[in-house]
Symmetry: C2
Subunit: 663 residues, 2 copies
């Protein structure tokens, strides 16, 4: 049974939250009346609004704060692009097939589930009560396997635990060996599944009518940003460093999606590509602003040693100690932490976990995941990867388009180096239409390659260079076409391929985690069923204000509409609830929706224009003139004031809610 | 050559605008360094921001103003859903193939292009100069065909014109007949293309790993809203009428996309589904608020008579005269008109055109397109369709889920009718797991079906009912399980399937049209090249304020940053341009970006804290304290004040721009 520990210290069955979220239509399985499709969800009105607030906060916190260049790129992407980026060959999970019933299993999840079930059985046999959260699912969202109470050797327990601590570090072959070594069987059939095979996670389609033009739905927004690099640099008037950003849907054909919003096939991402000069240690000018931010870290060495123990550290210290590689990576990690604070995450349930070598995506050279603790275990919500120059380099090599920065040097640099001199008059006619791309490849050769080719020319009179873009894939170049010399060169500019630091946010996962972090229940005095509350910060609440006419009195209605209209003018969303339900019921419904405030219109309002303002979490109220109340709401929604400030400023009010309930 | 007539009355080659938009990165072909893919575009920073402002205004104008229930549904959709909705069978364009070179042509565009080329040739032969806009492309975005000066009979000219006026009204067979009758040939090869074949416009993919589960990318957001109808009604506490809304990407595999942003394969839509009780004439409570809005209308009768002449009319009159069918449809048509006004469309270039019978989508019973005039001709930007009860009915019939409203009647109604009485005790055990869905189907049978089945039971002892959701597809029900009787029933409630009015917005098309409507050029005094300006309303401008330090003086920089910071606090986007370029150059760049205002920091600012404020269109300036200037900007961005108001309030300033240019 999955349990969540609320911020108020309550231990609550996850089902209570999920049934409330369904009832209030935060989200719902897509196509449910057709039986649904695994891994696809629709957001209802409150979920949609929560998502919009999360995106808006993200845009303010990252894009506007740092003048990032936001772009919106195509989801449909031709084969060639993902072939070059490596996704066609490497963007895969390992799957095995059950030989008996044909069931398809994700290999790592399967190994994890069986070993965990065995460990649990061992605990039962030893009479140890398992911890509720740990037991369910330390990280992955796999099918639960039933445990059988059976004691294991101490050495075996240790071995299993060590395997589990680095489960993300195994490739297909290693997973296959684990399956054989530990004789892992699918509990449904008792059979051992097949050897793991790679399954590409991209959705494929065809673009155009007659088309033999295969395309994919992008699995990340990043490539669109890389392909536009040269234009973005131009738009930024050649200034470096800079970041682009993009918010949009991406798609991954998960093998067996489970766990609600946490592992889905269609999801909203918000990604930043920060382009930085790799020379000079990737310093960041605003790093001092964040160096004292304290983080909870779990580095790769700790995990490889078989432990998941975290440590607390300021980001300044972490960069100084080389736990985090450089300032720019560190800066974004700290900014991500501050973002979580701003949107209302429980900071005791946030950690940053470094990827182990084999776990890393094919393009990354270092990566930290920001993880949020939920009843499903620790969930990767943001990946913060250093993609180095990988993407820009492969796209430039493939297309010949210069994805580089040319920096004017303040002082010219004199160097001795190998230089290829192309005899244009002969070169062009010799290679014809391939000439341009071959020349580009030659001009992009590095010093080691040039030195080798110089030797080839001296030995054989020619050298052969790989040119993937032409028909033969390579070109043989004779001495009369290109001459390679060691020369003294005075450089007035330098050309480099920027490195990319990429913070990549899974909006749906953050949203779900925030729902868990915000949820708690309060008992009612009468001992009724506990009532759910979602304690979002006012800026995040799907609806900011519930407007409640005390009763169905005709005079209240126009006043309620007027308050709603004024709030709309201030850009604050509100709803009028003039149903006949009791005030208590109406507030209760809106506590479940996370509505931050309530404004009640009553008989006193008719007399003196005053209204009451109720705060969701404390249920306490103040009373004042409508205009002062609206001002108070605005200042809290903008984050300029807290409820405590407002309570100190305005007279307390006690009454309706209880009165009406008693009536 | 395509010409656009600007709001200032200038006649400008479209290329001038497009090259400016490319240079300023409003949008750019996706994957351009890979050669691009037809019909796919990326938005760069100003385009992305313009799109965000358009969406935000849409959300305020429609969703917030009318308390619509916004949802965000999956793009990936299983086959079954679009099979039921009719899209698998009917969502197609007609294509023909050139037998010589295999070129694929969209049949209607091909017919249109050849006939237009002939008409143009006729005009040339008669010595009539063709009108620039008309000539290019009256409505569709097809390949241009070269005209040959050749005189036609007057009767033939008339016939061609009549065909063109109703080109959208032909189906594949009729288009094939036109091709044969008029001997239309592909100018590239001189060959007559094949008979038109339907080509389904949905992108297909597979969902899941082992999958024989085909799926599609949705071609509209609507279905997700229909499938959630029952939950949305529940969320709205059973109140009718109400509307849902959705903003998201949709996909159509266009046969031959052309014309930039106007015919693309991936596009952002904003759709409203307004659910209304069909009894009572589809009245709308807020219709009086809009009845005096004057519109330019082109109804179906006019088009079928071979004319495209519009008439001006208030929406009140149009509904009264039954030109527009009902108040709800009329209300939304008027609201769309007001939306265009709010986002800065040129209202002299807006018309509403009614669909002809064959042109209508398979689900619609009436439809008006809001069209904007551009250099490509009249462009459908919003479709406002009455989808009647089509979608809810077909989905309910297919799934058995009740997509209906149950209305409590204030006075009970007594009726005699056929009623099926299910013997639950026997029925459940007999049909086992299929029992529930079979019972739902029986309960949803209409009177005619019940009467027929009653006869079957009397004749044979049983009846057989279609139940697509179960394995056999049908169930045989014996007399002992269900008894059908003619009874007197007192109804306290009534059940109905709501009708749907659907305003559906193509955001990319609106965005492009606004770019054309906003563009003009101004000459420079020195007689330089004309400089482009994009006159967006302040609320729509991608960046609201350019902050310009007069020169590279070190004291200006912190002041510029401070102004930027204060604007950010007010939620207003700004950019600092502290490049060394002249003030004139810097403003000129931002006129092209449509930046609404400029704030200049100069030596006077250091002395007294005053700054100047420049308005983009007039280039006039005022000067005042920084705080008053920021207040002025805020009031104009919010739409509370105009530039004329500000000029009346604050002292005029003349100087820098000219001075610096002269220097």
């Amino acid at each position: 049974m999955a349990t969540l520990i609320t911020r108020t210290g309550q231990s609550i069955d996850r089902q209570a939250l999920e049934s409330m979220l369904r009832r209030r239509m935060f989200y719902t399985p897509s196509f449910e009346i057709y039986g649904g499709v695994a891994g696809l969800y629709d957001y209802g009105p409150p979920g949609c609004s929560l998502q919009a607030n999360l995106i808006e906060t993200w845009r303010k916190h990252f894009v506007l704060e740092e003048d990032m260049l936001e772009v919106d790129c195509s989801v449909l992407t031709p084969h060639e692009v993902f072939k070059t980026s490596g996704h066609v060959d490497k963007f895969a999970d390992w799957m095995c097939k059950d030989p008996v019933n044909g069931e398809i299993l994700r290999a790592d999840h399967f190994v994890e589930a069986v070993l965990e079930a065995r460990l649990k059985g061992d605990k039962e046999a030893r009479g140890i009560k398992a911890d509720a959260v740990e037991e369910e699912d330390p990280k992955k969202k796999k099918k639960k396997h039933k445990s059988v109470a059976q004691r294991l050797d101490d050495a075996v327990v240790k071995e299993y635990s060590e395997v589990l601590a680095q489960i993300d570090n195994y490739d297909g072959e290693a997973l296959g060996q684990l399956i054989k070594k530990y004789e892992l069987k699918n509990p449904t059939t008792g059979a051992q599944p097949s050897d793991p095979m790679p399954f590409n996670l991209m959705f494929q389609t065809k673009i155009g009518p007659a088309s033999n033009a295969p395309g994919y739905l992008r699995p990340e927004t990043a490539q669109g940003q890389f392909l536009n690099f040269a234009k973005l640099l131009e738009f930024n008037m050649q200034n470096m460093p800079f970041a682009s950003a993009s918010i949009g849907k991406s798609y991954r054909n998960e093998i067996s999606p489970r766990a609600g919003l946490l592992r889905v096939r269609e999801f909203l991402m918000a990604e930043i590509e920060h382009f930085v000069d790799p020379s000079g240690g990737k310093k960041h000018p605003r790093f001092p602003e964040v160096e004292n931010v304290e983080l909870t870290l779990l580095d790769k060495h700790t995990q490889l040693s078989g432990s998941t123990e975290t440590r607390k550290m300021t980001i300044g210290q972490a960069v100084k100690d080389k736990v985090v590689d450089n300032e720019t990576l560190g800066y974004f990690i700290a900014r991500i932490h501050l973002f979580f604070e701003r949107v209302g995450a429980d900071l005791t349930k946030v950690r940053f976990r470094q990827h182990m070598a084999n776990e890393m995506a094919h393009y990354a050279c270092d990566c930290w995941d920001a993880e949020l603790l939920t009843s499903y275990g620790w969930i990767e919500c943001v990946g913060c990867a250093d993609r180095s120059a990988y993407d820009l380099t492969v796209h430039q090599n493939k297309t010949g388009a210069p994805l580089v920065v040319r920096q004017i040097l303040t002082e010219p640099v004199v160097e001795r180096m190998w230089v290829p001199e192309i005899d244009r008059k002969k070169f062009g006619p010799h290679f014809k239409k391939d000439g341009r791309v071959i020349a580009e490849v030659i001009e992009a050769l590095d010093q080691a390659q040039l030195e080798k080719f110089k030797k080839d020319v001296d030995d054989t009179g020619s050298f052969t260079v790989d040119v993937p873009a032409i028909k033969d894939g390579k070109a043989t170049v004779t001495r009369d076409l290109v001459n390679i010399n060691f020369q003294t060169i005075t450089k007035h500019s330098r050309e480099y391929t920027p490195n990319v630091i990429e913070p990549s946010f899974g909006i749906g996962r953050i949203l779900y985690s925030l729902l868990e972090h915000s949820f708690w229940t309060r008992g009612t005095e009468g001992g009724d069923e506990a009532r759910g509350v979602l304690s979002f910060p006012p800026s995040m609440a799907p609806t900011k204000v519930l407007i409640v006419p005390l009763s169905k009195n005709d005079e209240f209605s126009p006043l309620a509409r007027k308050v709603g209209h004024k709030l709309r003018q201030l850009g604050i969303s509100s709803r009028v609830d003039d149903s006949g339900a009791s005030i208590g019921k109406r507030y209760s419904r809106n506590d479940e929706l996370g509505t931050a405030f309530g404004i009640t219109i009553d008989f006193q309002t008719l007399k003196d224009g005053s209204v009451t303002l109720r705060e969701r979490d404390s249920t306490r109220q103040v009373r004042a003139d409508e205009s002062r109340i609206l001002e108070a709401v605005q200042s809290m929604v903008n984050g300029h004031k807290s409820w405590a400030d407002i309570e100190a400023e305005l007279p307390k009010f006690e009454g309706q809610e209880v009165e009406v309930q008693v009536r």
